[in-house]
Protein backbone atom coordinates (compact mmCIF):
# COMPACT_ATOMS: atom_id res chain seq x y z
CA UNK A 1 0.00 0.00 0.00
CA UNK A 2 2.22 2.82 -1.20
CA UNK A 3 0.93 6.29 -1.85
CA UNK A 4 2.06 8.85 -4.42
CA UNK A 5 5.03 10.91 -3.34
CA UNK A 6 4.19 14.51 -2.72
CA UNK A 7 6.82 16.98 -3.97
CA UNK A 8 7.08 18.91 -0.72
CA UNK A 9 6.99 15.82 1.42
CA UNK A 10 10.27 15.19 3.26
CA UNK A 11 12.34 12.27 2.01
CA UNK A 12 11.33 8.84 3.25
CA UNK A 13 13.01 7.87 6.53
CA UNK A 14 14.53 5.06 4.60
CA UNK A 15 16.57 7.26 2.24
CA UNK A 16 18.37 9.11 4.98
CA UNK A 17 21.33 7.14 6.34
CA UNK A 18 21.91 9.55 9.22
CA UNK A 19 18.34 9.32 10.30
CA UNK A 20 18.38 5.54 10.17
CA UNK A 21 21.61 5.31 12.12
CA UNK A 22 20.29 7.67 14.80
CA UNK A 23 17.06 5.71 14.98
CA UNK A 24 18.96 2.46 15.31
CA UNK A 25 21.01 3.92 18.17
CA UNK A 26 17.86 4.94 20.01
CA UNK A 27 16.33 1.53 19.49
CA UNK A 28 19.48 -0.15 20.76
CA UNK A 29 19.51 2.00 23.84
CA UNK A 30 15.91 1.16 24.54
CA UNK A 31 16.38 -2.52 23.84
CA UNK A 32 19.43 -2.69 26.10
CA UNK A 33 17.45 -1.20 28.95
CA UNK A 34 14.98 -4.03 28.61
CA UNK A 35 17.23 -6.96 27.82
CA UNK A 36 20.41 -7.48 29.77
CA UNK A 37 21.95 -9.62 27.01
CA UNK A 38 23.31 -7.15 24.48
CA UNK A 39 23.46 -9.66 21.62
CA UNK A 40 19.78 -10.45 22.09
CA UNK A 41 18.99 -6.77 22.43
CA UNK A 42 20.69 -6.12 19.11
CA UNK A 43 18.85 -9.01 17.44
CA UNK A 44 15.53 -7.51 18.50
CA UNK A 45 16.48 -4.15 16.98
CA UNK A 46 17.69 -5.74 13.77
CA UNK A 47 14.52 -7.76 13.33
CA UNK A 48 12.29 -4.80 14.11
CA UNK A 49 14.12 -2.59 11.63
CA UNK A 50 13.97 -5.20 8.88
CA UNK A 51 10.26 -5.70 9.44
CA UNK A 52 9.64 -1.95 9.47
CA UNK A 53 11.65 -1.23 6.34
CA UNK A 54 9.57 -3.70 4.37
CA UNK A 55 6.59 -1.41 4.85
CA UNK A 56 8.41 1.89 4.76
CA UNK A 57 6.46 3.12 1.72
CA UNK A 58 3.23 3.33 3.65
CA UNK A 59 4.68 6.05 5.90
CA UNK A 60 5.18 9.59 4.74
CA UNK A 61 6.25 11.11 8.04
CA UNK A 62 9.11 10.12 10.27
CA UNK A 63 7.04 10.39 13.43
CA UNK A 64 4.56 7.84 12.14
CA UNK A 65 7.35 5.57 11.00
CA UNK A 66 9.12 5.82 14.32
CA UNK A 67 5.98 5.06 16.33
CA UNK A 68 5.49 2.00 14.22
CA UNK A 69 9.06 0.77 14.37
CA UNK A 70 9.01 1.07 18.17
CA UNK A 71 5.74 -0.84 18.29
CA UNK A 72 7.41 -3.70 16.43
CA UNK A 73 10.48 -3.51 18.65
CA UNK A 74 8.31 -3.63 21.74
CA UNK A 75 6.71 -6.87 20.56
CA UNK A 76 10.10 -8.42 19.78
CA UNK A 77 11.31 -7.48 23.25
CA UNK A 78 8.24 -8.95 24.91
CA UNK A 79 8.78 -12.22 23.06
CA UNK A 80 12.40 -12.36 24.18
CA UNK A 81 11.53 -11.48 27.78
CA UNK A 82 8.88 -14.19 27.88
CA UNK A 83 11.43 -16.74 26.74
CA UNK A 84 14.01 -15.53 29.21
CA UNK A 85 11.78 -15.06 32.18
CA UNK A 86 13.97 -16.97 34.56
CA UNK A 87 16.95 -14.88 33.64
CA UNK A 88 15.16 -11.69 34.61
CA UNK A 89 13.92 -13.21 37.85
CA UNK A 90 17.50 -13.73 38.96
CA UNK A 91 17.90 -9.96 38.98
CA UNK A 92 16.45 -9.63 42.43
CA UNK A 93 14.72 -6.76 44.15
CA UNK A 94 17.14 -7.16 47.04
CA UNK A 95 20.12 -6.06 44.99
CA UNK A 96 18.99 -2.48 44.73
CA UNK A 97 17.08 -2.36 48.00
CA UNK A 98 19.92 -0.95 50.09
CA UNK A 99 20.71 1.69 47.51
CA UNK A 100 17.11 2.85 47.48
CA UNK A 101 16.86 3.00 51.20
CA UNK A 102 19.62 5.56 50.87
CA UNK A 103 17.69 7.61 48.35
CA UNK A 104 14.59 7.54 50.51
CA UNK A 105 16.61 8.61 53.54
CA UNK A 106 17.90 11.48 51.45
CA UNK A 107 14.46 12.82 50.59
CA UNK A 108 12.40 11.81 53.65
CA UNK A 109 13.18 12.45 57.31
CA UNK A 110 12.78 9.88 60.09
CA UNK A 111 9.08 10.68 60.37
CA UNK A 112 8.59 9.98 56.68
CA UNK A 113 8.07 13.61 55.69
CA UNK A 114 10.01 15.51 53.05
CA UNK A 115 13.24 17.09 54.13
CA UNK A 116 12.69 20.81 53.73
CA UNK A 117 15.10 21.20 50.80
CA UNK A 118 13.78 18.07 49.10
CA UNK A 119 10.12 19.02 49.12
CA UNK A 120 8.84 18.77 45.52
CA UNK A 121 8.41 22.12 43.84
CA UNK A 122 5.95 23.27 41.25
CA UNK A 123 7.29 22.42 37.77
CA UNK A 124 6.23 25.19 35.47
CA UNK A 125 4.88 23.92 32.16
CA UNK A 126 6.73 20.60 31.92
CA UNK A 127 5.40 20.16 28.38
CA UNK A 128 7.62 23.05 27.25
CA UNK A 129 10.64 21.01 28.21
CA UNK A 130 9.68 18.48 25.55
CA UNK A 131 10.68 20.92 22.84
CA UNK A 132 14.12 21.37 24.26
CA UNK A 133 16.98 19.12 23.14
CA UNK A 134 18.93 19.85 26.32
CA UNK A 135 16.05 18.63 28.39
CA UNK A 136 16.05 15.27 26.65
CA UNK A 137 19.75 14.87 27.34
CA UNK A 138 19.08 15.44 31.04
CA UNK A 139 16.13 13.04 30.87
CA UNK A 140 18.29 10.34 29.34
CA UNK A 141 21.01 10.77 31.94
CA UNK A 142 18.42 10.48 34.73
CA UNK A 143 17.05 7.34 33.10
CA UNK A 144 20.54 5.88 32.84
CA UNK A 145 21.06 6.43 36.55
CA UNK A 146 18.14 4.23 37.56
CA UNK A 147 19.07 0.79 38.87
CA UNK A 148 18.64 -1.59 35.89
CA UNK A 149 15.56 -3.42 37.08
CA UNK A 150 13.76 -0.18 37.92
CA UNK A 151 14.62 1.19 34.50
CA UNK A 152 13.35 -1.95 32.81
CA UNK A 153 10.03 -2.03 34.63
CA UNK A 154 9.50 1.72 34.38
CA UNK A 155 10.10 1.70 30.62
CA UNK A 156 7.80 -1.29 30.10
CA UNK A 157 5.09 0.58 31.95
CA UNK A 158 5.49 4.19 30.81
CA UNK A 159 7.39 4.01 27.54
CA UNK A 160 5.92 0.88 26.00
CA UNK A 161 2.65 1.28 27.86
CA UNK A 162 2.14 -2.31 29.01
CA UNK A 163 -0.38 -3.00 31.75
CA UNK A 164 0.73 -4.50 35.04
CA UNK A 165 -0.50 -8.00 34.18
CA UNK A 166 1.64 -8.11 31.06
CA UNK A 167 4.70 -6.84 32.89
CA UNK A 168 4.35 -9.38 35.70
CA UNK A 169 3.81 -12.17 33.18
CA UNK A 170 6.82 -11.31 31.05
CA UNK A 171 9.28 -10.55 33.87
CA UNK A 172 8.12 -12.85 36.67
CA UNK A 173 8.04 -9.90 39.10
CA UNK A 174 5.17 -10.07 41.60
CA UNK A 175 2.52 -7.38 41.59
CA UNK A 176 3.66 -5.97 44.93
CA UNK A 177 7.27 -5.81 43.79
CA UNK A 178 6.08 -4.13 40.63
CA UNK A 179 4.42 -1.39 42.68
CA UNK A 180 7.58 -0.96 44.74
CA UNK A 181 9.85 -0.81 41.69
CA UNK A 182 7.65 1.73 39.90
CA UNK A 183 7.43 3.88 43.01
CA UNK A 184 11.20 3.87 43.44
CA UNK A 185 11.80 4.62 39.79
CA UNK A 186 9.36 7.54 39.83
CA UNK A 187 10.81 8.93 43.04
CA UNK A 188 14.31 8.77 41.60
CA UNK A 189 13.40 10.21 38.24
CA UNK A 190 11.43 13.12 39.59
CA UNK A 191 14.20 13.90 42.07
CA UNK A 192 16.79 13.82 39.30
CA UNK A 193 14.73 15.92 36.87
CA UNK A 194 13.88 18.50 39.49
CA UNK A 195 17.47 18.84 40.59
CA UNK A 196 19.01 18.91 37.14
CA UNK A 197 16.35 20.65 35.12
CA UNK A 198 13.23 22.10 36.64
CA UNK A 199 14.92 24.04 39.42
CA UNK A 200 17.52 25.40 37.04
CA UNK A 201 15.01 27.45 35.08
CA UNK A 202 16.25 26.34 31.68
CA UNK A 203 12.94 25.04 30.45
CA UNK A 204 11.81 28.25 28.82
CA UNK A 205 14.59 28.04 26.23
Amino acid sequence: MSEPINADQPSKPFDDQHYLLALRQQMLKFSNLQIADSALAEDAVQEALMAALKKVDSFSGRAAFKTWVFAILKNKIIDILRQRRRFVEADSLGQTGAEDKLLQDDVFNAGGHWHLVERPQNWTEPQLAMQNQHFWRVFEVCLDHLPPQQAQIFMMREFIGLDTGEICASTGVSISNLHVLLYRARLRLRTCLEKHWFLKGEDSD
Binding site: H113, W114, T164
Partner: protein, 74 residues
Protein backbone atom coordinates in the same frame (compact mmCIF):
# COMPACT_ATOMS: atom_id res chain seq x y z
CA UNK B 1 -4.41 1.64 57.37
CA UNK B 2 -4.22 4.81 59.43
CA UNK B 3 -6.11 7.83 58.20
CA UNK B 4 -3.18 10.15 58.93
CA UNK B 5 -0.27 9.18 56.72
CA UNK B 6 3.20 10.63 56.16
CA UNK B 7 4.69 11.84 52.87
CA UNK B 8 6.44 8.56 52.20
CA UNK B 9 3.17 6.63 52.41
CA UNK B 10 1.26 9.32 50.51
CA UNK B 11 3.71 9.28 47.60
CA UNK B 12 3.60 5.47 47.50
CA UNK B 13 -0.18 5.59 47.22
CA UNK B 14 0.02 8.25 44.50
CA UNK B 15 2.37 6.06 42.52
CA UNK B 16 0.26 2.94 43.04
CA UNK B 17 -2.93 4.74 42.06
CA UNK B 18 -1.51 4.86 38.53
CA UNK B 19 -1.59 1.04 38.41
CA UNK B 20 -4.42 0.03 40.70
CA UNK B 21 -7.64 1.40 42.17
CA UNK B 22 -7.10 2.59 45.72
CA UNK B 23 -9.46 1.49 48.49
CA UNK B 24 -11.88 4.03 49.86
CA UNK B 25 -9.84 4.36 53.03
CA UNK B 26 -6.65 4.92 51.06
CA UNK B 27 -8.37 7.60 49.01
CA UNK B 28 -9.54 9.40 52.16
CA UNK B 29 -6.12 9.26 53.75
CA UNK B 30 -4.55 10.55 50.55
CA UNK B 31 -7.06 13.37 50.10
CA UNK B 32 -6.53 14.46 53.69
CA UNK B 33 -2.77 14.39 53.28
CA UNK B 34 -2.83 16.30 50.01
CA UNK B 35 -4.99 19.00 51.52
CA UNK B 36 -2.23 19.69 54.00
CA UNK B 37 0.93 19.07 51.99
CA UNK B 38 2.00 21.14 48.99
CA UNK B 39 5.09 18.97 48.46
CA UNK B 40 2.97 15.88 47.89
CA UNK B 41 0.52 17.78 45.68
CA UNK B 42 3.51 18.72 43.54
CA UNK B 43 4.76 15.13 43.59
CA UNK B 44 1.42 13.94 42.25
CA UNK B 45 1.56 16.40 39.35
CA UNK B 46 5.18 15.51 38.71
CA UNK B 47 4.63 11.78 38.30
CA UNK B 48 1.79 12.60 35.92
CA UNK B 49 4.20 14.83 33.97
CA UNK B 50 6.80 12.06 34.11
CA UNK B 51 4.36 9.79 32.36
CA UNK B 52 3.75 12.33 29.57
CA UNK B 53 7.45 13.07 29.23
CA UNK B 54 8.34 9.39 28.94
CA UNK B 55 5.67 8.98 26.29
CA UNK B 56 7.18 11.99 24.49
CA UNK B 57 10.65 10.44 24.71
CA UNK B 58 9.58 8.01 22.00
CA UNK B 59 9.49 10.80 19.48
CA UNK B 60 12.80 12.40 20.33
CA UNK B 61 15.45 12.24 17.68
CA UNK B 62 19.08 12.60 18.60
CA UNK B 63 20.11 12.84 15.01
CA UNK B 64 18.30 14.68 12.24
CA UNK B 65 15.94 17.46 13.22
CA UNK B 66 12.43 16.23 12.62
CA UNK B 67 10.52 19.18 14.01
CA UNK B 68 9.38 20.29 10.55
CA UNK B 69 7.72 17.01 9.68
CA UNK B 70 7.22 15.47 13.10
CA UNK B 71 3.48 15.87 13.09
CA UNK B 72 2.73 14.43 9.71
CA UNK B 73 0.82 11.24 10.10
CA UNK B 74 0.70 10.49 6.38
Amino acid sequence: MKIVINCRKATQLMSESRERTLSRRERWALALHKAMCSGCRNFDRQIEALSDLTEGFKYVSHGADEKSNGNREG
